[in-house]
């Protein structure tokens, strides 16, 4: 590696970093606007044209606000908790290919920060790290509401992590590789969302829960927990939690795009061949984010026990059965030929659907039976 390589690497990382920051600033505005639109309001209008600078203004305000460290807080942990919650959000994005790449000064610059050979596992590892920011924030604040919120939300996150991992596994069975670029490459004919629609749905739901977004924003349920784990945070530290949360949303949407929607793939003209994939990628990510915002505007918050029941009693068994069904559909044709297997697969699918229906029915009935007690 010579100095040019280093320079290109640094430039790549810096550009991605600031684009991510910028995207968060935009995303906050987009979310407020879209939700306002869905509720026939106007939303933020003052800062900048159509209020586009509103989140920047928020950020600047938070930056200059007095930072309060509660008297009973555990100071070192209280200080590192926001950083810990922000880091994995950035790092998870590192393995996502957001374009094909470009040749600059005779060197190939991939549009991806790092193409790890354990790509998907890296994503999973980072998402399991996200729990820490929340747990530590809640514990170190030395106050009851944050503690309750953090315990709750970490329980929620680990519950949905299993479901998320199962969705990832079924994608892997199609691509046969953990590397993100190869997962995108494997989708050259059909996007994974077609054969793996259930896994896609599982992933989206688990992603909502992992990022603590509505309707799974229990950790911040303001009616019962004030503001959840970051109740005692203020100023720039609070801004970091906010940033981490929206970064996570972007990352989850980007991962869903890469794994299920063909990543940067899309029809495009030969002209400016490096630009179009990026545009496609952005469009797909925006579509998923729009869906998330839509869900937020539509669904009320889950009750906590239902949230946990949904994760454990529906998502996990369904994911497990789906993984096995995917395996059967891919492996069995190699052994027995296609036709009987297609019929068998249809049967399996029917059984799976039936089972999943039964499951949710079962869960619901048990709940209604036990609720009065």
């Amino acid at each position: 590696m010579d100095w040019l390589d280093w320079l290109l690497l640094a430039a790549r990382v810096v550009v991605v970093f600031f684009v991510l920051l910028l995207s968060v600033i935009l995303l906050v505005w987009v979310e407020r606007k879209v939700v306002a639109d869905m509720q026939t309001r106007k939303g933020p209008m003052r800062a900048g044209p159509r209020g586009v600078l509103v989140s920047l203004a928020d950020g600047i305000k938070l930056f200059f606000k007095e930072g309060i460290t509660p008297a009973l807080a555990d100071r070192p942990v209280y200080l590192i908790a926001p950083i810990v919650s922000m880091l994995p959000a950035f790092l998870a994005f590192a393995v996502i290919p957001f374009g094909t790449g470009v040749t600059l000064f005779g060197r190939r610059v991939p549009f991806q920060i790092a193409d790890l050979n354990v790509g998907i596992l890296w994503v999973l590892a980072m998402s399991s790290m996200m729990v820490y920011g929340i747990v530590l924030a809640g514990w170190s604040s030395g106050s009851n509401y944050p503690l309750l919120g953090s315990i709750r939300s970490s329980a929620q996150m680990i519950s949905y992590e299993v479901g998320m991992a199962l969705a990832l596994v079924s994608v892997l069975m199609y691509s046969g590789h953990l590397r993100m670029t190869q997962i995108v490459a494997a989708q050259d004919r059909v996007w994974n969302v077609v054969p793996q629609l259930p896994a896609f749905v599982i992933y989206l739901i688990a992603g909502l829960a992992e990022t603590n977004r509505p309707p799974f924003d229990l950790p911040e349920a303001e009616t019962e927990l004030v503001a959840g784990y970051h109740t005692e945070y203020s100023g720039i530290k609070f801004a970091m939690f906010y940033l981490a949360e929206y970064l996570n949303t972007v990352t989850v949407a980007a991962i869903a795009t890469t794994l299920f929607l063909g990543g940067w793939r899309g029809p495009h003209p030969e002209h400016l061949a490096w630009l179009w994939p990026i545009l496609w990628f952005v469009v797909k990510v925006l579509a998923i984010i729009y869906a998330y915002i839509w869900i937020r505007a539509t669904l009320p918050r889950f009750r906590y026990d239902r949230l946990m029941a949904f994760g454990w009693k529906v998502l996990i068994p369904f994911g497990l059965v789906w993984v096995l069904a995917t395996g059967a559909v891919i492996v069995l044709p190699d052994v027995y030929g296609r036709r009987p297997v297609v019929i068998g697969a249809a049967a399996v699918l029917a059984v799976v659907l039936l089972l999943s229906l039964l499951w949710s029915a079962l869960a619901r009935r048990r709940e209604t039976v036990e609720a009065p007690s």
């Binding site: 999973l124 747990v135 530590l136 315990i151």
Partner: protein, 203 residues
């Protein structure tokens, strides 16, 4: 090679330092945090050794799952205040440190006497790891080692049952002194849990 070397000499001291810090830390949550740092650096060492799958699994399972359980338990039990640790056996700490150093010395000696400090991958490692580390692992795990793999599922099952059975206990713990009063006092046995550490074997 040079990168391996640098990463190793950055991570190894951090890992040992965090392990020692964990032991010296009185606050349970701080100790757990040091343990997380330790697990992380060990994960990086796995990476240096050419086992990226293990690296990811170490983070996901140990740093991600098991440490969450640790933190839960710490919070659950409220062992938040700094515990006043009284040593019942005098000289226990010294003995433990000496024996621990003995184990370290022995292991270093055994490795040094035998293979020496290796600077390269073992023969055939590249070939075994061919086609990607996770793939290679899968080949081994699901062919030669398929019986241990299946046995693991029984272990997991027993673990789940164990968690349920132990957590379902619904009674208030009786104070230990109360309990001791009910039982005959044994003259020969101190009968305290801290005892065995003294005899921590050198091996």
């Amino acid at each position: 090679m040079a990168a391996d070397w640098i990463v190793f000499w950055v991570c190894a001291p951090i890992s040992i330092g965090s392990a020692i810090a964990m032991l010296l830390q009185r606050n349970a949550v701080h100790a757990a945090l040091f343990l997380i740092v330790n697990l992380f650096t060990v994960a990086v060492l796995y990476l240096v050794l050419g086992a990226p799958f293990l690296f990811a699994v170490q983070i996901i399972v140990y740093a991600g799952a098991i440490m969450v359980l640790f933190l839960f338990v710490i919070m659950l039990l409220g062992v938040d205040r700094e515990e006043r640790l009284v040593e019942r056996l005098r000289g226990q700490r010294t003995a433990a440190i000496l024996l621990g150093l003995g184990v370290v010395g022995e292991v270093v000696f055994a490795i040094r006497a035998g293979v020496g400090f290796s600077t390269r991958a073992p023969a055939g490692f590249g070939a075994a790891n061919g086609g990607g580390n996770p793939q290679a692992l899968g080949r081994l795990l699901f062919r030669a080692y398929f019986l241990p793999f299946e046995v693991t599922s029984i272990l997991l099952m027993v673990a789940a049952v164990a968690a349920m059975v132990l957590a379902r206990r619904r009674e208030r713990p009786v104070a230990s002194a109360e309990r001791r009063a009910q039982e005959p006092i044994e003259p020969s046995e101190p009968s305290e849990p801290s005892e065995p550490r003294e005899e921590e074997p050198v091996g």
